[in-house]
């Protein structure tokens, strides 16, 4: 496998970043990544991200949690060992609601977080591919990837046209390896 090379262009403003990206997209050069210090509003539309499937995951997990909790409680109370507590019926639905609800939330929340971490490939101690340490500070970075060296200059130009500053070819440092 060939060594990947990247060219990065810096923006200092999120509005300019969005305009710049639209400009770059016109040139058919695929954008490898955009690094921002905070979630830039509208960026996902510009980059044409599909809507995340995390909500669906949360719903499924939550439903599963609720069903498991409810069925377990019913089983415990009416089948495993039906005990008479204060004359309450064995199948005492209102009593099951709180635990059912909590388990639904717990399942949904845990699955969401793990879904997010796994999908994003991050986690405790995961290596980070960092192009510019300032991206977590004040720099909006557009990262373009090239394999063929001949493309390098073209990309440079595109970025320049798109208003990017501080354009450079870079070999990213891997944090935490």
């Amino acid at each position: 496998m060939k060594n990947r090379q990247y060219i990065t262009g810096v923006y200092y403003d999120d509005k300019e970043l969005l305009d710049g990206i639209i400009q770059i997209q016109k040139s058919d050069i695929p954008i490898f990544d955009v690094r921002t210090p905070f979630p830039v509003h509208g960026l996902d539309d510009v980059l044409k991200f599909k809507r995340s499937r995390l909500p669906r995951l949360g719903f499924v997990a939550g439903t599963l949690g609720a069903i498991l909790a409810f069925v377990f409680q019913v089983w415990v109370f009416s089948s495993s060992w039906p005990l008479n507590f204060g004359g309450k019926p064995f199948f005492s639905v209102p009593s099951f609601i709180p635990v059912t609800f909590e388990m639904a939330v717990l399942f949904a929340a845990i699955s969401l977080v793990f879904g997010f971490l796994i999908k994003s490939g991050i986690g405790p101690g995961a290596p980070a591919l960092i192009f510019d340490e300032r991206t977590s500070d004040n720099v909006f970075l557009v990262v373009l990837e090239f394999v063929d060296d001949s493309h390098e200059q073209k990309i440079f130009n595109v970025l320049k046209e798109a208003g990017a500053e501080d354009i450079k070819s870079i070999n990213p440092s891997l944090q935490n390896e």
């Binding site: 905070f38 830039v40 995390l54 495993s80 929340a109 969401l112 997010f116 994003s120 977590s136």
Partner: protein, 459 residues
């Protein structure tokens, strides 16, 4: 996105993105000041006292507390409910205000969430400690066992086990997920060092990739959507510890929403108490502005009034019910031997927050600080009043008794303060108190005269 010009800026002082990062991460640079060490030392001292008190409680027995055959719960459960309530502000701010698109939450949600977690840790101690047989506490979990005996799903205390642990878990995840980008910021600011490695591990390899951000936002929103009913459910379930009983003063249907309102009320008061000091100590006046304080005060007055209406509703319904026990319970609250607790509660919770109707007071930091402490005290007494005055004179006058705490109970309570502040001091030292990324995201719309090219000078 257009923002109406009559809105107050959320970040003052014409901050650039860079400045935001610098200002907020400043406390993490260099050596901490003497004040910090003094504070931490005091907190550790209180924690040690708590440790001794806990040892006595577990070793000697609950008899070392001031409880008796009539009053089975006293300071312990009062503190439990109080701490859980305090915790609610964090979740309320980060979940419900997020759903309501209240942008001013961005400056305070991080520290409020941290307080949530620390407060829930403190709170969680009490249900454990109040058990007569702590070593057997694991019985509350429905694990398969040779006796084929499960747990009692009818018990609100069991619901608490699920609610509090879920709440703690979800709050922790929510908080930490929000923290990841900021930890990455700190990581990226550090020179190669051991510290940097630690932050690198903690940052989960966050890069700020647009794709991650999109996913992160989506997850945060749903977590907020989950946390909003969760925060309602937690204090509702806590309230059901009382409301499901038949004890007059405990059994009343308004408890669930009223407890939630009370929890947010006390939580905001605690956030204010701490943030008014923290913003000064850490020089964050530009991020936690008087406007923020005013917004929080508005929440205080709203929830305080809800709580007040609930008090009056309870009082009226006790009379209206025509039930002798109900009527007596409330007369006893107001004029019985614990009248002072009731009137402290009434004064602190219902009367003092009404001062916030005046804009001048609402925007006055000193006044806010004092009133927030009043509210903290009042909300503690609310739980004390509910627990102790309802129990000490219930149905059979033959069993009526009095309750006063022992040093052990007070010690455990102080110990939880120790725990809370130890964690809080460590938190402000090692993590950003304000959510850096989130503040940056509202800087454009709500920063004071955000000057774009100001950044150039910082290169």
């Amino acid at each position: 996105m257009y923002i109406s010009p009559i809105r107050e800026p959320l970040v003052t002082g014409s901050k650039s993105y860079k400045q935001v990062t610098d200002d907020i991460t400043k406390p993490m640079d260099g050596k901490p000041g003497r004040l910090w060490f003094v504070g931490l030392g005091l907190a550790l001292l209180a924690l040690m006292l708590g440790g001794v008190a806990i040892f006595v409680t577990v070793w000697d027995g609950i008899g070392s507390w001031g409880l008796n055959r009539t009053i089975g719960w006293g300071w312990g459960i009062t503190n439990f409910v109080w701490w859980v309530g305090i915790g609610h502000a964090g979740t309320f701010i980060s979940a419900i205000l997020l759903l309501f698109r209240q942008k001013w939450r961005t400056s305070i949600n991080r520290s409020a969430e941290a307080m949530t977690i620390f407060a829930v840790m403190c709170a969680g101690l009490f249900p454990l400690l109040h058990m007569g047989r702590l070593p057997l506490g694991f019985f509350v979990f429905p694990y398969p066992n040779t006796r084929d005996l499960w747990v009692n799903f009818n018990s609100p205390l069991l619901w608490d086990v699920f609610a509090i642990s879920t709440y703690f878990m979800v709050s922790l995840l929510f908080w930490y997920m929000g923290l990841i980008p900021d930890i990455a910021t700190i990581r990226d600011r550090l020179k190669r060092s051991f510290k940097k490695k630690v932050y690198a591990v903690l940052s989960f390899g966050w890069t700020g990739s647009a794709r991650h951000w999109a996913r992160h936002e989506s997850m945060s929103l749903i977590l907020a959507g989950l946390a909003a009913p969760l925060v309602l459910s937690v204090h509702s379930i806590v309230s059901m510890d009382f409301a499901t009983s038949v004890i007059p003063g405990w059994h009343t249907t308004i408890f669930p929403p009223y407890f939630v309102a009370g929890a947010v009320f006390s939580g905001f008061a605690m956030v204010l108490t701490l943030m008014i000091i923290t913003r000064k100590a850490l020089n964050l006046q530009n991020y936690i502005t008087v406007g923020h304080v005013e917004s929080m005060n508005k929440v205080i007055i709203a929830t305080g009034s809800i709580v007040g209406i609930a008090y009056i509703t309870e009082l009226f319904m006790a009379w209206y019910s025509g039930v002798v026990y109900e009527r007596f319970a409330f007369v006893n609250r107001a004029f019985g031997p614990y009248w002072w607790a009731y009137w402290i509660m009434m004064t602190c919770n219902v009367i003092t927050p009404q001062l916030f109707w005046f804009k001048k007071i609402r925007r006055n930091l000193a006044a806010t600080f004092i009133i927030s402490i009043f509210v903290n005290i009042g909300m503690w007494f609310e739980r004390f009043v509910i627990i102790v005055t309802s129990l000490h004179r219930d149905f059979l006058p033959s069993s009526w008794a009095m309750y006063s705490p022992t040093w052990v109970e007070v010690g455990v309570y102080l110990g939880t303060f120790g725990l809370f502040f130890t964690l809080f001091f460590l938190f402000i030292r090692f993590f950003p108190v304000v959510a850096i990324a989130e503040v940056k995201s509202v800087l454009r719309s709500s920063g004071e005269n955000f000057v774009r090219k100001g950044v150039e000078n910082e290169k």
